[in-house]
């Protein structure tokens, strides 16, 4: 194990970095998409429940099934991997963003409008900051989930640590096959913890002290 790691640590680090950067970039993209969708939905009851249903049903779809479906139009490569990861990353954030935005006290919004804030300004200065902790909680759920999904996405030759797992599987019983899988799994777990900690810290730094728990 240690020799396996010592011999390949540069490759492992680079795969880890690929994995991490795939997840982080997809997470950022997903957050933007989710907040946009939530902003469109949260003030209508019908659209809110639509968003919630889409999120709930989307999350029941197995990631591997979606990957399979995406191979046909997009072939193998980075594109289907990114689509799958973003798709699943959007769902928890969307759900939380709708809940968070809808949960902002109506009287607070009225007060903001009352002192002359525009609709957009109210959204960015009042509603979004107040809903931010809830949105961030959704991002943490997404982050952890997509770390694993990104590993499955290696099946379509996406970048990252999943390739260590699949190569170990294909060489089962062969030299270093177990080490390869173990490295893949452990590295993903470590990356997930790092990303989670990073999101926690970002949460501390970006959440108004007035609403910190």
């Amino acid at each position: 194990m240690s020799s396996f790691f010592a011999e390949r640590w540069e490759q492992i680090l680079s795969a880890s970095w690929q994995h991490f950067s795939l997840v982080v970039q997809c997470l950022i993209l997903a957050t933007v998409i989710a907040i946009l969708l939530a902003a469109l939905c949260y003030r209508s009851r019908g659209l809110t429940s639509l968003a919630n249903n889409v999120s709930a049903i989307g999350l029941t779809i197995p990631s591997f099934a979606l990957i399979g479906l995406l191979i046909i139009p997009f072939g193998f490569g980075v594109v289907p991997a990114v689509i799958v990861v973003v798709f699943f990353a959007v769902l928890p954030i969307l759900r939380n963003a709708v809940v968070g935005l809808a949960g902002v006290d109506a009287s607070t919004i009225e007060a903001a409008r009352g002192i002359g804030m525009s609709r957009a300004k109210t959204f960015f200065r009042v509603e979004l900051p107040l809903a931010w902790p809830v949105i961030l909680a959704g991002m943490r759920v997404s982050a952890q989930m997509t770390m694993g999904i990104a590993a499955v996405a290696a099946y379509v030759l996406g970048p990252g640590l999943g390739s260590y797992i699949f190569s170990g599987l294909s060489r089962l019983g062969g030299a270093n096959s177990l080490e390869s899988v173990a490295v893949g799994v452990i590295a993903v777990v470590i990356l997930a913890q790092i990303l989670d900690a990073a999101l926690l810290i970002i949460g501390r730094l970006t959440t108004s002290r007035g609403i910190r728990v």
Partner: protein
């Protein structure tokens, strides 16, 4: 109790039921569409064998077997553990156990499946064990959260009436925690259906086989059918679990 909150509660209740009726209809329609498409498609011999009703049905049953066996074992292990971790002296282990479970949950499912194949050999067993590990946390976590969420004053009221600790657990705590626990069980079931797909990589059987076969042999129709069937199966299980949640939820909550 204001009438406004009553009607709001009634309203959400009604919407839940509407969702419960719409979901199976959509699933059936989608299933019909898949069937129609396969029966009209131009199939090669291999595809015809792979997409025969009996073969698909067999794979579905395998998939369900993986899911159900893992689910039963998870329930039998995780719920008692959750109860134990909310009892007096064991409460201090809750945080470390949950922390470990949370870290474990971030392990990629595909990795777990493969690792257990190394240990237990290819097949059903390794898949089930990996599935159990993967679905354990939602059930355990929600059992703990649900039990902790029970209003302490109600527990005290029960004790004050002379209920034994066991009576308080079974008559007050578990019924009141049930909605949260059921939500966790549903999450676990959906995870299980999805993750069981990965069993195809280690000869665990199930509908995932259609996807791997489709990819390996470049059979697009098999690939699409497999993906859709897995998704529909997941939605069906989700629907059954929702239905059960709705029915089993104690009235009065």
């Amino acid at each position: 109790m204001s009438t406004a909150s009553d009607s709001a509660a009634l309203d959400t209740g009604r919407r839940q039921w509407t969702g419960l009726i719409v979901q199976p209809i959509v699933i059936l329609l989608a299933l019909g569409a898949v069937a129609l498409w396969i029966s009209n498609a131009d199939l090669t011999d291999t595809e015809r064998v792979t997409l025969s009703v009996s073969y698909l049905w067999g794979l579905t049953l395998e998939h369900l077997k993986l899911t159900v066996v893992a689910a039963v074992i998870v329930l039998v292990l995780a719920i008692p553990l959750g109860i134990l971790l909310t009892r007096g002296p064991f409460r201090r282990y809750t945080t470390p156990v949950m922390a470990i479970a949370n870290i474990g949950q971030s392990a990629p499912a595909i990795g777990l499946v493969v690792l257990f194949a190394f240990w237990l050999g290819f097949g059903f067993e390794a898949t089930v064990v990996a599935l159990i590990l993967y679905a354990f946390l939602p059930v355990l976590g929600n059992t703990i959260v649900g039990l902790r969420g029970v209003d302490g004053r109600l527990i005290e009221a029960g004790r004050g009436m002379g209920m034994s600790a066991a009576a308080v657990l079974f008559k007050i705590e578990l019924p009141l925690a049930l909605p949260v626990m059921l939500a966790g069980i549903r999450t676990a079931l959906v995870l299980l259906v999805g993750t069981a797909t990965l069993g195809a990589f280690i000869d665990g059987g199930g509908l995932g086989l259609l996807i791997t076969t489709g990819v390996n042999l470049a059979l697009d129709k098999v690939l699409i059918t497999g993906s859709l069937l897995v998704a529909l199966l997941a939605l069906t299980i989700d629907w059954i679990a929702r239905l059960f949640e709705q029915v089993a939820r104690p009235r009065g909550l």
